[in-house]
């Protein structure tokens, strides 16, 4: 006998995920505008791998493939992973990262909804630990390098590692703004003269600050269409701002301004797209704030003192470990049991 309710609000997981993918478009557009179309190659490559791996895993587990492929969750993981690794990363890196993310971090735990770790970040962590060198070859924005790599050259490099005749890899790539900042600081330079270097724009790295703004716009769109709630992004950015602010006030020469941290690395895309993955973030309001504040502080610590250039991925994974516990201990009071009854 069917159980009530017999009517439902027209909404589906694939619609939600589609909206999140659309929200990524502004960021990607700016990315292509500043760094050339290479990122599109790795995004499509990652998407194809993700869908192929998902289909294979579902086949192995005798599950119908259609409903899962069309729910766009694998696509979202692929896009987030592609956006957090260098655009000129060789093709096998993208494939390995995405395949590991979808197969191990998602389907080994039972597919959609049961994975404790954010698949995109697991993919990133695996890549940065296995291929640290490749992960530092980020594209320099056109304005800086003055070299206009055609799309064919980029394709050529990604698939068979060949560069046009006169260019060397170092000419067209550089470390991220964060990475350069960290290495220079270790060499004892002060923040001011580091900021004078050509790669820095007004807020952070020349191209990457605009891309961060693009993701922020996409994030605000998600916020206003109530796909995500304010708790995670606001708490995360506030925590990052506060910790970096304290260190900056204590020693402005050695610790960069909070705005720099906001608009560099994966902070913006993390706050609005990576942390807010519903499956791997807490469900209670209080829990979301604890989770985001923890991630913010860890991101700053790893960026300032850790061994990796950007702490966003590891901060997310470390806080993902705590999510079940956070959920258990932040259960809100139930109707009528809030005391007083008024």
């Amino acid at each position: 006998m069917l159980s009530s309710p017999f009517i439902a609000q027209p909404s589906s997981v694939s619609q939600i995920m589609l909206r999140v993918l659309l929200a990524l478009i502004p960021g990607i557009a700016l990315y292509v505008w500043y760094f050339g179309p290479a990122i599109l190659v790795s995004i499509t490559l990652a998407s194809i791998t993700a869908l192929a791996t998902e289909a294979a895993m579902l086949k192995l587990r005798n599950r119908p493939i259609k409903p899962f492929i069309s729910d766009n969750t694998a696509l979202l993981t692929a896009w987030l992973l592609a956006l957090s690794i260098p655009p000129l990363a060789p093709w096998w890196m993208v494939v390995v990262g995405t395949a590991f993310a979808i197969a191990v971090s998602k389907h080994l735990y039972g597919g959609l909804g049961s994975n404790p770790f954010n698949p995109a970040m697991i993919g990133y962590a695996v890549l940065i630990i296995s291929f640290p060198v490749h992960m530092t070859h980020w594209l320099t924005p056109h304005a800086l390098s003055g070299v206009e790599l055609t799309f064919i050259d980029q394709l050529n490099y990604i698939f068979n590692g060949v560069l046009p005749n006169n260019l060397t890899l170092d000419a067209i790539t550089m470390a991220t703004a964060l990475d350069t900042m960290k290495t220079q600081l270790h060499l004892g330079l002060s923040v001011n003269d580091i900021r004078d270097m050509p790669i820095y724009g007004r807020l952070a790295g020349k191209g990457s600050e605009m891309v961060a703004i693009g993701f922020a716009i996409g994030g605000l769109y998600l916020l206003f269409t109530r796909i995500i709630t304010w708790h995670l992004p606001v708490a995360y950015l506030a925590a990052l701002f506060a910790t970096s602010g304290i260190f900056h006030l204590v020693d402005p020469q050695h610790y960069v301004t909070p705005l720099f941290h906001w608009f560099s690395g994966a902070a913006m895309i993390g706050a609005f797209f990576i942390l807010t993955d519903p499956v791997t973030s807490p469900t209670t309001a209080k829990g979301k704030i604890i989770f985001a504040v923890g991630a913010g502080i860890l991101t700053y610590l790893i960026r300032a003192f850790g061994g990796f250039p950007d702490g966003m991925a590891f901060a997310t994974l470390l806080m993902n470990i705590c999510v079940p516990l956070i959920d258990t201990y932040t259960q809100p009071k139930v109707f009528g049991k809030k005391g007083g009854g008024k």
Binding site: S3, N62, R63, P64, P67
Partner: protein, 183 residues
């Protein structure tokens, strides 16, 4: 070499003293575990576990003499509860000990000769009757342990499964509309 001996003997004497003192202070009497295990068992007193009732089986488990998968009326869930309580691994039922559906004994009053053998056998006094008088089973009290079947000389007791009626009907586990393709 000698000093090494002294050191080791010193340490062990010191530890021995501390442990001796604390074992007296932390004396624990009785084993509250038996009641906890007995609380989990279904109390059918049917003896299918090889012990004359649930309490003896509980004591045997507490003493570790027997395994926890010998109680068919308890079902898989009973074993799971015992496994959680004792912190041991879940063991499925051995062969032939699989649980049967719940049933209640019923005396066919045409053939009952009033010999009271079943009354003496019933562990929970669920059979009403006296010598040479008609016997009948109180359905609500019968635990379905089938101990009254063997002693009956005229074999007039049968086990009747408890059907599904509107009061004990249960919602089914919702099989999500065929998400699992055929294997």
């Amino acid at each position: 070499m000698i000093s090494a001996l002294w050191v080791m003997i010193g340490i062990s004497l010191l530890l021995g003293a501390v442990l001796g003192y604390s074992s007296i202070k932390f004396k624990v009497e009785g084993n509250p575990l038996v009641e906890k295990i007995d609380a989990v068992l279904p109390q059918t007193q049917c003896g299918q576990c090889g012990y004359p009732g649930c309490k003896p089986y509980a004591e045997a488990i507490a003493k570790g003499e027997t395994s926890i998968n010998k109680c068919p009326p308890g079902g898989e869930e009973g074993i799971q509860k015992l496994a959680d309580l004792l912190g041991v691994e879940f063991q499925p039922f051995g062969e032939g000990a699989a649980p049967k559906g719940k049933a209640v004994a019923f005396i066919d009053e045409q053939t009952c000769i009033g010999c009271t053998l079943c009354i003496q056998a019933c562990p929970v006094d669920a059979i009403v009757g006296a010598a040479k008088q008609m016997h009948t089973i109180i359905a609500s009290e019968c635990t379905g342990c089938e101990l009254c079947l063997p002693p009956c000389p005229v074999d007039c007791i049968t086990m009747q499964a408890i059907g599904e009626n509107i009061t004990n009907w249960k919602w089914r586990h919702p099989v999500i509309i065929p998400i699992k393709a055929a294997a």
